[in-house]
Symmetry: C2
Subunit: 293 residues, 2 copies
């Protein structure tokens, strides 16, 4: 740990799980002088203050962001354009901005629309550290420890600005990676956004039945794991789905075509086709788990 923190002043928009854990991570690393929080609700900001996540609640946006070393936009992605529009005129020449959104092409486009000449100061990021709990109370200094954070730098970013943003996430314990925004969105549509949609859909499908209690009473560990992500934040996931609509539609259609095939196999009693599909899936799932562990 150096004697002086790398970031004197950090401003966070949206002090929930993602923003709060970022603040706590930088604090734990001794790499931040002061954290100022902005948010939609005074109650959650007060809570973040009580938990020591932020040092002050921000009121004057222009003044706070002008003197910030680092800004994190950690709102649901649907609100990011508005935050960008609010801060763009005021951010200082030395300020770098990053975000914690789960989709990146839309965020990059919004940044392009709002930051103008300061676009080079915004380095988009996606921390892969979901949790079904949200809000400041769920924030933890070690949320990002050994987790991946995908940076999707823009052509306008200087090497220095990318390095500063990378450094911030790495002080939180993360392993940083880089993808192009569109590539990022295709990958996460498949491995994250689609599974969330499918899990929400399954629980909804059961919940709306008259006799849902009978069904839920026999749901066991397979159901529990499959549906853990269906307890995720509805507004956040609405925004993710909308922000990544094109890639998600493509993945969803691909998946529906696969379900149609399995439906046909099941209908005609084609056990061979079913077993082959399950076999490929099991081998891939096991190889994935072995690599991860």
């Amino acid at each position: 740990m150096s004697d002086f923190p790398e970031f004197g002043k950090v401003v966070i928009f949206g002090v929930g799980l993602i923003g709060g854990s970022f603040a706590l991570g930088l604090k734990a690393a001794g790499q931040v002088g002061e954290v100022v929080g902005f948010g939609r609700g005074l109650a959650s900001l007060t809570h973040a203050l009580e938990l020591g996540i932020i040092d002050r609640v921000g009121f004057n946006t222009g003044q706070e962001v002008a003197s910030a070393d680092l800004i994190l936009i950690a709102t649901p992605v649907g609100q990011m354009p508005e935050v960008m529009a609010r801060i763009a005129p005021y951010i200082g020449a030395q300020t770098v901005v990053t975000d914690g959104g789960s989709t990146k092409a839309g965020v990059a486009a919004a940044a392009r629309a709002h930051f103008g000449e300061k676009l080079g100061q915004f380095v988009p990021a996606h921390p892969i550290a979901g949790a079904e709990n949200s809000g400041a109370a769920a924030a933890r200094a070690d949320l990002y420890l050994n987790k991946k954070v995908v940076l999707t730098p823009l052509p306008e970013n200087s090497v220095l600005n990318v390095a500063r943003v990378r450094s911030a996430w790495e002080w939180c314990g993360a392993q940083t990676h880089e993808l192009a925004p569109a590539e990022h969105d295709r990958v996460f549509a498949a491995v994250s956004h689609l599974p969330h949609l499918l899990s929400f859909a399954l629980v909804h499908d059961i919940a709306v039945r008259d006799n849902s209690g009978l069904f839920f009473s026999y749901a066991a560990s397979g159901f529990r794991d499959f549906t853990r992500i269906a307890a995720s934040h509805p507004e956040m996931w609405r925004d993710v789905c909308l922000a990544n609509r094109v890639a998600l539609l493509e993945e969803l259609d691909r998946y529906r075509a696969q379900l149609d095939e399995l439906r046909d196999a099941l209908h005609r009693g084609d056990g061979k086709k079913l077993e082959e599909t399950f076999d490929v899936a099991r081998a891939a799932r096991r190889a994935w788990a072995d690599n991860k562990l």
Copy 2:
């Protein structure tokens, strides 16, 4: 624990996770004199013997089942009719038979076809204790501890025979419940079989891509939990799907209709519809988890 075991001799067909854990559970409770195992492969039987799951490998089916107090058929459901046909002529007058299959209407129909006058001695059961690992090595004495076992008694079962089978599962630590076979299959198609199919389908869908490595490298905890059941036993799940084809097709079609609705909402950018769906799912998932814990 009583001085004498409730079941002097137990014969198990299929000494894997389900059959092996049943044997170990009864042994741990001191409620079995001797366990004899039958199976397709000598290697797995030898393994079960070495692990103390069974006391002997059975060779003469007729002789072994004639003197059995309790028989468990714990093969994949696709092989149960064959086992039933093999044992039906020989089971003793005091023998009760149960099974560990995940579907029940087909098993009940097979029993009706094969057990003839002895049908009343067969009490179908479904232990709700899945695990993605299979085989004798995965068997544990406490697999059924505090887990549900659903009995689906047949009209021909005597109260005494149901009680004896219930007792065996309860000695393994299970909580027993009763459903009609068809009702059982409808419930489990929705809360277990469909999620397995969906999870297998997602992993397969990614695994068959040329660049699957890129996708898997960014898969995180949401993917991990959603796909845990895609590491399940392909042959077992093929059999479950086929055995519960009618109810599973019904659930799958219902689910596909729901996906179509979400697809339309996503396509037209209907955030309200998406959020409402996610919201209902989250509330139901949380209520379910609160009830379970």
